[in-house]
Every structure is written in C-alpha cells, then in structure tokens.
C-alpha cells in the first residue's frame, strides 16, 4: 500500500513535468502545425548559461530568471530565422529543421563545454512536510505550483485573449488570418518564445534531478511527445491530464514490472493511441467543410 501511495504521488509530480514538456509542443503545434525536436536542447543552452552565472555568484532566483529569458530569446531566434522560413518547403521540412537545430546545439555544446555531468542547483532540498512516506521538498512544491499556474495561464491565454486566439487562427486558416491583418510570422515567433519559456522552466525542474550535460533535457522529449499524442495535439488541458496519467503509469510500470520497461510502455501507448484515437483521448477530430 505504501509503495502504491508513493508511486502514485511521485507519478503525479513527474507527470506535471511531462505535461509541461507536452505544453511546449502544443504551443508550437497550435500556431504552426508541427513539433519541435529542439525543445530539450534549447533548455540545455539556457541551463548552461544559468549554471555559469550561478557559479559566478548570481543568486538562484536570478539564475532561474536568466535561464528562462535565455531560452525564450534563443527559441524566438531559432523559430524566426531558421524554422519559420523553412516552412515554405513543407511541414515535414520544418520538423527536420528542428532536428538540424538540435544537432547543431548538441555539437556546439560537445565542442565547447565539458560533456560530463554537472550538478545543477535546485529551488530547495529541505523537506517541508510528508504525505504518507513521501517527503515533499521545497523544489517539489514549487514545481507543482509553477506547473499549475502555467497551465492556468496557457488555458486563459489560448481561449480568452485576442492574441491567443489569433495564434490559433494563424494555423487554422493562414490566408484568412493574413487578410484580417494578422502577421502569421510574428504570431509563430511568439509561439516559439512561449515554448522557449516552457522549455526553460522544464529544464529548471529536470536539471537538478538528472544533472546537466548536453542533451540531458532530451530525456523527456519522448514523454512530451507521448503526452500530446495521448492528450491531443492541440489541447492544453489534454496535455495536463495526459502528462499526469503518463507519469503515474510510468511509475506503476517501474515499481511493479521493471524500470527498463517504462519507455517500451510509452512506445506501445503512443502506437495504440495513434492507431485508435489519432486525435488523442481529449483531442477533437478536425471538422472539414464539404
């Protein structure tokens, strides 16, 4: 019973991080119609910059802010000047461009930085309180709080703000969006910036757990992909629910079967969902006027 309780609780915390990775994909997908394979590497760049600043004496909270700003700027630059211009060759070319960018970042990091793991500071390791056998640290509490706040923000942003709806319109009907004066390039760049912020926040939660090395945040890419496949490519709420479900399921597989079967379980889930519910469990089938 204790094992189950611990597994479920830690699964929810982990699931919120998966959900955040998934939300980063959803933001770009909603505006541009493709996914970015470079999210993890963008986060790594921000984390390395943050780590240098932290070692130079910058306080943790300023470091965290610096990581987020660097990730947002880098993602904006990559989106605006590399990926969005390549969309003219098709959506799959844009996806390939994100793989290219990810390789460039990884190669540059390997060439210029130590490829070994480096410890990254966390928001706090003190145990504040316990739920059953699980001790909740400051970092755990902050990650849960920040994830929930970000999801509330994204939900309101895409459904109730003019700019959020304009971003959806830019993908749904680019020609009509241009006719009413919306700049699809600017809106897509904004989606990259928001995805960069989400990548930075995810990196801040992940780096203290897995430590920092080139490609360390990429460990979560597959969970992010699985999250949006499960929750629906365009659904922020779907990403949240699917992320938590995936975190819990992964922890149950690790606890009761074998930790090495978790990624295979993710593969099976992704395959089954895409076969039988291609728009995700919470996604809607796109309506086409005939």
């Amino acid at each position: 019973m204790e094992l189950l309780q611990t597994t479920l609780f830690l699964g929810v915390i982990l699931g919120l991080i998966y959900a955040l990775v998934g939300a980063g994909f959803v933001v770009i997908y909603r505006t541009s119609g493709y996914l970015s394979f470079a999210q993890g590497d963008i986060a790594t760049v921000g984390l390395y910059v943050g780590l240098f600043a932290y070692k130079a004496g910058l306080p943790y909270w300023w470091t965290a802010l610096l990581v987020i700003v660097v990730c947002a700027l880098l993602a904006g630059v990559i989106g605006r000047f590399v990926v969005i211009p390549l969309e003219r060759f098709g959506v799959l070319s844009a996806v390939l461009a994100t793989i290219g960018v990810a390789l460039i970042i990884q190669g540059t990091e390997a060439l210029t930085l130590s490829t070994g793991s480096q410890a990254f500071p966390s928001a706090g390791t003190d145990i504040l309180f316990s739920i059953g056998q699980v001790g909740i640290s400051t970092a755990n509490l902050i990650s849960v709080g920040v994830c929930i706040l970000l999801f509330i923000f994204l939900g309101i942003f895409f459904t109730s703000t003019k700019i959020g709806m304009a971003m959806r319109a830019a993908n749904d009907n680019p020609v009509a969006a241009n006719h009413v004066g919306l700049s699809s390039t600017n809106l897509k760049t904004l989606s990259w910036v928001i995805a960069g912020v989400l990548a930075g926040v995810t990196g801040l939660f992940v780096a203290p757990i897995y430590s920092l090395y080139p490609g360390s945040v990429n460990l979560l890419l597959v969970y992010g992909f699985a999250t949006i496949v499960l929750g629906g490519f365009e659904s922020i709420a779907g990403a949240l629910i699917a992320g938590i479900a995936l975190g819990v399921l992964g922890n149950l597989v690790a606890a009761y079967l074998n930790p090495n079967l978790v990624t295979f379980a993710v593969y099976v889930i992704v395959l089954l969902v895409l076969l039988f519910r291609p728009n995700g469990l919470l996604g809607r089938r796109p309506l086409v006027r005939v």
Binding site: V91, G100, I105, G107, A110, P214, L221, V270, L275
Partner: protein
C-alpha cells in the same frame, strides 16, 4: 522536402521537341527525379564508388579501413531507411530497431554454432519478419504520427535490450564468436576480407535499391506514397505495398546488423540510441534519398567521420556538422549531394555535347 510531387516523377512532355533537346530533357528529368534514363549511370557510379572504397580501404591503416566498414554498414541501413522515405514519404526514425534486431539475431545464431553465412541470412529473414509485423500497425499511420511512433520505438530500444539482458547481454554486452565466411572470404573486425564482404553486400543492396526504384515495384510504391487513395481506386493493394516497403527496409537493416555483429564483434545495449536512428535519417538526407551512392556518401559522413575525427574533436561534436549540413540540405530542396551532383553532371555533359 524529399517527397517529390507527381509532376516531378512524370516524364517531361515530348510533343514537338526534336531529337537532341528531347534527349536532354530525358536526362534532366531523370536527374531531377532520381529515376529514368540515368539508370546505367547510377549502376556505374555505384561500381566506381565500390572500387574507390576498396582501393582506399585495402591500401590504408586498419583504423581507416574500420571506419570505411562501419560507414558502409551505415550506408546499407540508410538504403533501407531511404526506401520508406522516398517511396512512402514517411519519416522513419526507427531504423535502429532493425539493425539491433539483425545484430542480436546473428550474434545468437553464430554463438550457437550456426555457420556465419547462414546466420546472416537467417538474421535478414528474421529481421524482415519483425519489420513486417511492426509495419502492420505503423504503416497505418502517416506524417508526424509515423515520426513520433518510430522515435518512441528507437527511444525504448536501449531500455528494452537492458530488460532482456539474459538474452542480449544488456549494457555489458556479448562478444560475437568467429569470423564471417561468405563468397570464399573470411573476415571480422577491420580485416581486409571484412571490407570486401561489406562492399559486396552494399553493392548488392545498392543494385536492389536502384532496380526496385526504377522498375514496376518502385513505380507502384511511389504511387501509393504520393496518392494512396488514387492507387487504391486503380486496384493497387496500398496496405500490402506499404508492408512490402517496410519489410524491404527491415531486411536491409538485418543485413546491416549481421555485418555490424561481425565487424564490431561486440554487441551492447548502449549502442542503440535515438541518436543512431537520427544519424541514419540525416545521412540519407545529406547523401540523397533516391541514390545508392548517395546513401554511401551519407554513411561515410555520419558513420566514418566521427571515428576519423575523434583524435581532434569529441565524436559527439560531429553532430554540429551534421546539423549544419541538414539545414543546408533542406534549404537546397532536400535532395542531397548525389542528386545535386547528378543534376550538375548532366548539365555539364549537355554543355560539352552542345559545344561539339
């Protein structure tokens, strides 16, 4: 993108165009589409590439030779991956599963005392069967969904191999006993005979790739990839064609795995990473997805270069170059070095012919 429009695959209209310019049009169309009149030129360049690899490999140090063997293993895998990409227009990031299955099958058969040639043959057949079974659900998907599923498959492979460590040896790995004995040759590791065997395997795979792409099977597969519904309406069993392409791709993965087992001599779960699959995919794009020689060029870049440059830079730093080339390749239309060279080669040939 690498997927070509129907217009590109349709021969240029002849109409009132007279002799020489019609000939020129045929050549230019062939260079553009990677199919058609230049079939014998493609066979010729494949033979020349094989001779160059053999001459360099047999007259050089064992480390350079090993790099060439390893590159050629990559090239065979790239050929298989390209088959899915070029005909069905899908992004397959799961090729590492095929080479891994091929390598493990051959390792187990060889270590059980099965003759090496037969072990490789059985490895190819078993991998093709696994590829066929995996393709039954995968080929129902398209576009981004195929990329995500195959990504998840490659990602899970290392953990799965560790989970199955009583069979696979896990991260500690298993040595492959003996040498590969085929075509009257016997080799392993960086032996000259191993290079010759690998090059022969690549040439056979390359000729198969060219033949399939230029003849009816290729035409049918391209039609299914470009207009599945239209193909179905005209009586083509689209699903079987897709399964066939995936099975061919897996069979080449099995061949690559068998040669990998004997050339590397040691199989560990740590080899099967998502980066392996991405490099195979990138190698195909850089070299040119429709070209057998292009696959070899891609294999040398992504397979050999990190080995040869590791004295100067960390092997992982080579990804910087691959990433840059990938972005440039997309900018250039995504047809790769081989098709770029073919296009300019034909133009040069026509220019010289015109002057005469």
């Amino acid at each position: 993108m690498t997927t070509q429009s129907p217009a590109e695959t349709t021969p240029a209209p002849s109409g009132s165009v007279s002799g020489p310019s019609r000939f020129a049009q045929k050549l230019l169309t062939s260079a553009q589409t990677g199919r058609g009149s230049l079939i014998w030129v493609r066979h010729g360049t494949l033979a020349i590439a094989a001779i160059i690899v053999l001459v360099i490999g047999l007259s050089s140090s064992s480390s350079l030779r090993y790099g060439l063997i390893y590159s050629t293993v990559y090239a065979i895998l790239i050929l298989g991956n390209n088959a899915v990409q070029v005909t069905l227009g899908e992004i397959n990031l799961g090729s590492v599963a095929f080479i891994a299955f091929g390598a493990y099958s051959v390792m187990m058969l060889a270590n059980a005392g099965v003759p090496s040639g037969l072990a490789v043959l059985l490895g190819i057949v078993l991998t093709a069967i696994v590829g066929f079974l995996l393709a039954i659900p995968t080929s129902r998907l398209t576009g981004l969904a195929t990329a995500l599923v195959t990504f998840a498959l490659s990602y899970s492979l290392r953990d799965l191999a560790i989970y199955l460590s009583p069979i696979t040896g896990g991260e500690a790995g298993v040595f492959v006993k003996g040498k590969l004995e085929v075509f009257g040759l016997s080799g392993a590791g960086a032996d000259p005979a191993m290079l010759i065997i690998t090059v022969i395997a690549m040439v056979i795979a390359g000729v198969g790739h060219i033949w399939l792409l230029h003849r009816r099977p290729g035409r049918v597969a391209l039609t299914v990839g470009e207009a599945r519904h239209a193909a179905t309406v005209f009586g083509t069993p689209s699903m079987w064609v897709k399964l066939g392409v995936w099975t061919w791709s897996a069979a080449l993965g099995g061949l690559a795995g068998g040669i990998y087992a004997y050339s590397v001599g040691f199989i560990s779960a740590t080899a099967w990473t998502i980066m392996f699959a991405i490099f195979v995919f990138v190698g195909g794009l850089i070299g040119g997805t429709r070209s057998a020689v292009g696959a070899w060029v891609g294999g040398i870049l992504v397979g050999g270069m990190p080995i040869w440059l590791q004295k100067f830079v960390p092997p992982t730093a080579a990804t910087l170059v691959f990433g840059l080339i990938l972005v440039v390749a997309i900018l250039a239309g995504g047809k790769g070095i081989a098709q770029f060279a073919e296009r300019y080669g034909v133009r040069l040939f026509l220019k010289i012919r015109g002057k005469r």
